[in-house]
Amino acid sequence: MDFWHRIMNIDRRWIYLLIAISVTFPMIVVMKFPVRVTPETRQLYDAINNLPDGSVVMLTFDYYPNAAAETEPMSVAALRHMFKKNMKVVTLSNIPLGGPTIAERITREIAAEYHKVYGVDYVNLGYKANYNAVMHGLANSIESIFPSDYTNTPLKDLPLMDSVRNYNDIKFIFVVADNATVDYWIQIVNAQYGVPVGAGVTAVVAPKMYSFVDAGQMTGMLGGMKGAAEYEKLVGHEGKAMRGMDAQSLAHLMIILLVIVGNIGFFVTRKKDSEKS
């Protein structure tokens, strides 16, 4: 068993250790490479920024807790941006596992920071089943689908909801999602009701969104933790995403190295085996 054969069959746990080190090392030694903003992120930031202060926008929490590392920083950065412009924010979630609970926790945390009043500056509608029916239902009237908000307060008792009946009263929908829900915000809500939709999505979903942005169906897009870091930079409030960029860089280099070494080993051992047989 020469050097290359042994290298090729090392225990998988050594590789796990390599990745663990390449993720924790940059937290001890901070390297701070500049984060440059891509045009798609700029487009989404400008779309919100150009809206008049105090206009009503909708922020959706369409992500499962397992992708929160990428999507939570996006929701936090978006909320900071909206509250800084004194916008009225209506939040909801189409995810039955954790969506409304995360929405409630984050909106209350960030709203407290900006001294926003629940029911006047922001409302959390919570969750209703079957997102296709919910998306069409909100076009008729929000109250037909959401008779009350997440904490059982009827919409009649929430001052903000008097001026928000359906999509005509909403200037922009900022979708934060980790699954196909964002496709339906585009192909149902934007296509049939003309509401501008921008989205922050996990990196797994991002490649597909480029075709919606290119077709003008989607106004800007954040892709993965890097997208969140760019938006944090534009909003001017360094959050978890920017702090994670160094670790992301090192981990990527490590995986590229593993692919290269793995392939070299593969070709060397294959040549050796064919010579032997």
């Binding site: 993720v23 937290m27 039955p96 296709n132 192909q187 990196a203 169906q217 994670g244 992301q248 995986i255």
Partner: protein
Amino acid sequence: MGDLTFIDHFQLWLRAYLILSLFSFLYRDNLFYRFSEHIFAGLSAGYYVGLIWQTVIIQQLVNPMIDNGDWWLVFPGLLGVLMFARLTRKWTWVSRVSLAFVIGNTAGIYLISSLHGLILPQMLSTMKAVNNSGSFSRILLAVVVIVGVISTLIYFYFSKEHKGILGATARVGIWFIMIAFGAHFGYTVMARVSLLIGRAQFLYYDWGTSIRQIF
């Protein structure tokens, strides 16, 4: 993060224990992993029950019926309860009407939204790719997009043998698909790494503060 109260410490140490107990599976399947894993499966299932009880049964059925007297909400409620017939073997057919009502509605929505919301706009922007091309790189981009869309569609065309021009276009299609899937590969790796960074950040920053304050 300020100095932490006892409850903060307890919560941080609890979360750290749960995370490390699951990561221990990487070393070897063990007791701690299985213990946490089964609690996790139960809690996630229990979450659905609590959520549906509040958001559907209380908010959409009970409260409107009592407060605004919408007694006709009994019908959707009945249709929903009929769904439980699926749990029995003999009475499954009873739930078919409720299932048909939901799936039929979704089918109607998808039939329209697929054609109007996806296919037409994507066809339109492929055609328009030609006129927003000013500089040379823009023209090249337009050519790449148009050739790419046509060759991908032809690659997934099954009614004729891939020979002659059709075969050549499909060959071009596979090259475009490999480049696009390469980009998707890079993005998916990025996503999984970010999730691990999220865990490392919690253990290093949040749990780390608690450790530093205690010791």
